[in-house]
């Protein structure tokens, strides 16, 4: 005796035809899931894209930069680093590069005719020629200080300092007035993310600082690059290396820590939005279940006819579960596409690299399939239980 059978391809075809016959209703019922999935993909995509941007920035800047600064003594007074601190830090374990800067007191003016109040909050700092290399800073215009220019009244301006002084394009012979003396501007730095106070400084060589401003040469901040594998160990030994007599009066910090914290915050910030997206998906699932129940009621005669043509209960159940799955999957795909587009658009606008979360997409599609099966289960069971004669009766 021949058995009733429905090939998988026919099952898919029958399910899709049922949806195709009611396009408007299908579109509306799919909307809920599409919105939910789009929200989830957007939240994951945008946060991952921005985190990826931060990560790339961190990668470029490196997390192995440490800075050593004088702290306060027991009575709360500001201390200074010992004079040979830079030298002793160079010899500390795991330290690869060292560059100190020293604060110089003096006003910074555009020229000698400007009132001494118009300093624009710019300070003078003595710096070593290797400072940009250690901070991974870029020179926007001109050149940085070198061994030769460090001995002369030559300055390099931080990005903010140059802007406040109104120096947008560097011309040969451009000079600014530092502490009552003309300094030729050799270059302008691009913004330095790891140490923004450099941006508001006019940098001069140590030799010139000693000569013109009579500083003693002790560093106010020492920047160090350490072996990336041993940043923590290096940090522990730096205080003693900088000031063997008073290691408690030295503070050691990691300038990239702020960026790292931002990154961690980005990754934990999402749970609320993900929760909202999940609620939308659930509401969408209920919408699909609703539409399927109505569909079974409306299509009683079709169910009866199919049974008369030889469909088993299983075939009928399969058809309605198939429709529900197809609706949910359509919603999932539409939502993923919308979410990805929005993510790409937003990342483009923010100049990030677009990251579409592959695991998020996979999970989203998987979840919609599970939801589709669940939403279709009850209507499909009802349809399958319908006896052919009941279904065909008017």
């Amino acid at each position: 005796m021949s058995r009733s059978s429905l090939t998988p391809a026919d099952l898919v075809r029958v399910s899709l035809l049922g949806i195709g016959a009611r396009k408007l209703r299908a579109t509306l019922s799919v909307l809920g899931i599409a919105i939910g999935i789009a929200a989830i993909v957007c939240v994951l995509g945008i946060s991952e894209s921005s985190a990826a941007g931060l990560e790339r920035q961190l990668d470029r800047l490196g997390t192995n930069l440490l800075s050593v600064q004088p702290g306060q003594n027991l009575t709360g007074d500001q201390t200074t680093l010992p004079l040979p601190a830079e030298q002793t830090l160079t010899n500390a374990p795991y330290v690869q590069q060292v560059s100190g800067i020293a604060t110089v007191s003096g006003t910074v003016l555009r020229n000698k005719h400007v009132g001494s109040n118009f300093t624009g909050g710019i300070s003078i700092k003595a710096a070593r020629p290797n400072l940009p290399a250690i901070l991974r800073g870029q020179i926007a215009q001109g050149t940085f200080l070198n061994a030769a220019t460090s001995n002369y009244p030559v300055t390099v301006l931080g990005a903010v300092a140059a802007q406040r002084l109104g120096i947008t394009t560097l011309r040969p012979g451009t000079a600014v007035w530092l502490g009552g003396k003309a300094f030729t501007v050799a270059g302008v730095l691009a913004p330095i993310q790891l140490s923004p106070d450099i941006d508001r400084s006019a940098l001069i060589g140590f030799a010139e600082a000693k000569q013109a401003f009579h500083i003693d040469g002790s560093a106010s901040t020492v920047y160090l690059r350490t072996d990336p594998q041993h940043v923590a160990a290096a940090a522990d030994s730096l205080a003693a290396a900088a000031s063997p007599a008073h290691p408690d009066q030295v503070s050691v910090s990691q300038p990239s820590a702020a960026l790292s914290a931002q990154l961690a915050a980005k990754k934990t910030f999402n749970s609320l939005f993900l929760g909202l997206g999940t609620v939308a998906v659930l509401v969408g699932a209920i919408g699909i279940a609703n539409v399927m129940v109505i569909s079974v009621l409306e299509r009683r005669s079709e169910i009866g006819l199919r049974r008369a043509l030889g469909a088993t209960r299983r075939h009928i159940a399969g058809q309605f579960i198939g429709e529900s799955l197809a609706l949910a999957l359509l919603g999932g795909l539409a939502g993923s596409a919308i979410g990805s587009l929005v993510t790409a658009g937003y990342a483009e606008y923010k100049h990030w690299h677009t990251v579409i979360p592959a695991t998020g997409l996979g999970l989203g599609i998987g979840a919609t399939l599970a939801i589709g099966a669940l939403a279709g289960l009850y209507p499909a069971t009802r349809a399958a239980r319908l006896s052919p004669t009941q279904a065909l009766a008017r």
Partner: protein, 214 residues
């Protein structure tokens, strides 16, 4: 056979009926006499409350849902008064769906459907949807769907009930051609012309078979 619906309403009180292969039988009787219930039982769309139904040598009481469906797909063709065509499918696909549950490939289903539609005189209406066809044409599509699987038994419930005389005659002609080819035919009808064209008339009243008036 007996059939009792929940209520309880006893619709059929002991029907004992044998339809021979190749026979064509008309079932006549007033509304509510149980004709349709009998046809549903013969078409194994429903099971009798008590008694047995032997179809093509199989005792249907012993068969699972899957087996019954297989039997319906392979050996029975149904024609309904309300046609039951799917509005969103073309005439061709409505007929091809008659083979949907027989594991016949789509291409073959369509080929045979076109053949049968041609035979019922709708060779030029393959791409039309039921909404674009007249009542007579729709019933011919429904008959084509019943025939496409070359069933041994065709069951028709008032096939001419919603058609005018001209269309009714055409349908009747189609059914008798079918019979000439060796198909067993059981037709419920109110129409004396249709009943008269059959080999045998079975009169049902209040769920019982009445002797044939001659």
């Amino acid at each position: 056979m007996h059939k009792i619906y929940p209520g309880p309403v006893e619709v059929l009180h002991g029907i004992d009926l044998t339809v021979e292969r190749d026979e064509q039988v008309a079932i006549v009787g007033p509304s509510g006499s149980g004709k349709s219930t009998l046809l549903n039982l013969i078409g194994i769309l429903d099971r009798p409350t008590s008694g047995t139904l032997v179809l093509d040598g199989h005792d249907t009481a012993a068969l699972s849902d899957g087996r019954l469906a297989g039997l319906r797909a392979a050996t029975i063709g149904f024609v309904f008064q309300q046609f039951f065509l799917l509005d969103y499918r073309t005439a061709l696909d409505n007929v091809a769906d008659g083979l949907l549950y027989t594991a016949t490939p789509l291409r073959e289903r369509r080929r045979r459907a076109a053949e049968v539609l041609d035979r019922v005189g709708l060779g030029d209406r393959l791409r039309h949807r039921p909404g674009q066809l007249s009542g007579g044409e729709r019933q011919r599509v429904a008959i084509a769907r019943a025939l496409v699987g070359r069933p041994a038994l065709v069951l028709a419930d008032e096939p001419t009930g919603s058609l005018d005389t001209a269309n009714g005659t055409a349908i009747l002609k189609l059914l008798s051609e079918l019979h000439d080819e060796g198909t067993t035919l059981v037709v419920i009808t109110h129409d004396p012309t249709v009943a008269g064209a059959m080999d045998r008339e079975i009169h049902i009243r209040d769920g019982r078979i009445h002797p044939e008036p001659t």
